[in-house]
Amino acid sequence: MTWPQSFLAFLKAQLALLLLRVLTAGPIPRHVAFEMDGNRRFARRTGRRAVEGHSDGFHTLKQILEICMRLGIRCVTVYAFAIENFNRPPEEVDALMKLGEERLVEIAQNGALLSQHGIRLNVLGQRELLPSHVQAAIEKAEGMTRQNTKSILNVCAPYASRHEITLAVQSVVQQALDKEEVDSSSITEQSIDENLMTTLGGSPPLDIFVRTSGVKRLSGFLQWQCCENTQIHMVDTYWPDFGLRDFVPIILDYQQKMWARSKV
């Protein structure tokens, strides 16, 4: 990189930091979810393999997490792998498992990085469907960060919202059966909410839901959490291209909602 390019990059970075500082002067969402869609289409656009798109997607995830941390967003949930994604070509599934395991091992080895920012890592989903070495890596990474309380990163893999709701219903029924006196009136929507994986991991209510790549469906992500009082943004940008240009308007929209609400 030539020195004018380096200088411009430095200036751009400083302006971005300034912008984030300005945003923190207003209301900041407590919990934001990202359905990181479009990695494969992004790669195919430049004639590359799908797996490379996932690598780019991971790089974007790190950048977005940093932005969220600087903004003071306490909880971020990402949809890394759906239960249905096991239907993908085996080589792609294997590559994704490998990518996930490598990153988890990295987190476990550099546990200090997450601890430095006080981030607790929760991996949510039907863990038993994952290869045993990936499960082991997850347990290690989660164990290292369990005591952190400043912020939460939920990685949903392999996850399906209906499965999460079913487990929550199963839990509330089991809890009621375990009591001395079984009382069905103790089961409410509140008690089901308290038994969702996100809530059990300490997550606050979901304020913003973002899906990239132009798809206008939830596809099994956080259905209970986002069906009420959550602003939903379906942006056309592919996930690897997602950045401040898309995220800042989303934050501004949230702030307008909060300000309007405080006037009422």
Partner: protein, 319 residues
């Protein structure tokens, strides 16, 4: 303080950009295809979500909701859409279900089927994800859960009353050709959403308790297990999942705030394509001289725009 002022400035800049973008989009606006135009894909089950301002609940809102529903109902019949779910969080439509039945009486010939005390098997099979198998235990679909769904079914005019199963078979075969196909209308409010899942859970508890008390070894009961397909047969038994959802604000704001789902039943929206009407596409109610109320009905143009978007959507099913 300085940062706050800069933030307000940023908001003004953002609002201006949004305004300009909306104006530019208006200029480049192209009208959609007409209702009866060929589309490669038409939803089998459409949901219409009607939204008003939180503070405004009046006869005017009720009138708007009823008019919007009547319009969508008519268009759905013309297109051969088999099921229509009408939702509003506050339950205004539910409150007026008798009025709705009277108003659509020339389309609807069967009495209202209230599914508050007993679940119903839908006339068309519930739409479920390819990964879910049917419940091994048909009992789950027969548990008395309060799902709070009001269902009305119309028959093709002139057809004599048949058993529900036969009507369903006939309906599937005819819906593409018939200009006024039979249509099942579900009217729901927030009570069919998370509270219905809680109701299902209470039902499951009662059932589990009953089984435990009647088991051979009640003292050593196994851990309670519930499968997704069993819960699905309870919930979709009363309200199948819509393919497509249109969210319409009857008191739109400019600029439009981001999409929200206003408490629509969460179980049923796994694969639902979601669309919101845009201000450009809607129209003021006729005979309404009070320009300051700024209420808007859903127009045929808005409906067609939504259908065009649905026809263009791609489904990869996880692959």
């Amino acid at each position: 303080m300085v940062a706050y002022l800069f933030l307000r400035l940023l908001h003004i800049l953002y609002a201006s950009l949004v305004f300009l973008k909306t104006r530019l989009q208006s200029r480049r606006y192209s009208p959609p295809q007409p209702v009866t135009a060929y589309r490669s894909k038409v939803p089998k089950h459409l949901a219409i979500v009607l939204v008003s301002n939180d503070t405004v609940h009046s006869n005017h809102t009720e009138g708007l909701y009823l008019e919007c529903l009547a319009r969508v109902f008519t268009w759905c019949r013309a297109l051969g859409i088999e099921q229509l779910t009408a939702y509003d969080a506050e339950g205004i439509l539910l409150k007026h279900s008798d009025t709705i039945r009277e108003r659509l009486a020339h389309h609807i010939e069967l009495p209202t089927d209230e599914s508050e005390t007993e679940p119903e098997y839908p006339l068309t099979p519930p739409l479920s994800e390819s990964s879910e198998s049917r419940s091994h235990s048909p009992d789950f679909g027969e548990l008395p859960v309060e799902l709070n769904v009001t269902t009305m079914r119309s028959l093709k005019k002139g057809v004599s009353h048949r058993k529900p199963r036969e009507v369903a078979v006939r309906r599937r075969a005819l819906h593409k050709q018939s200009p006024c196909s039979p249509l099942t209308l579900h009217i729901i409010s927030r009570s069919a959403s998370k509270p219905a899942i809680a109701s299902a859970a209470r039902c499951l508890l009662d059932d589990a308790l009953y089984r435990r008390q009647n088991s051979h070894d009640p003292a050593h009961a196994k851990a309670y297990q519930l499968s997704t397909s069993d819960l699905n047969s309870m919930l979709e038994g009363g309200l199948p999942s819509p393919d497509f959802m249109i969210v319409h604000h009857v008191y739109p704001q400019a600029p439009q705030p981001p999409l929200e789902l206003h408490g629509f039943p969460p179980w049923q929206i796994t694969l639902t394509e979601i669309h919101r009407t845009i201000i450009r596409d809607v129209l003021a109610p006729p005979n309404h001289s009070d320009a300051s109320s700024k209420s808007l009905l859903i127009s045929e143009q808005a409906f067609c725009h939504a259908l065009d978007e649905y026809a263009g959507a791609q489904f990869r099913m996880g692959r």
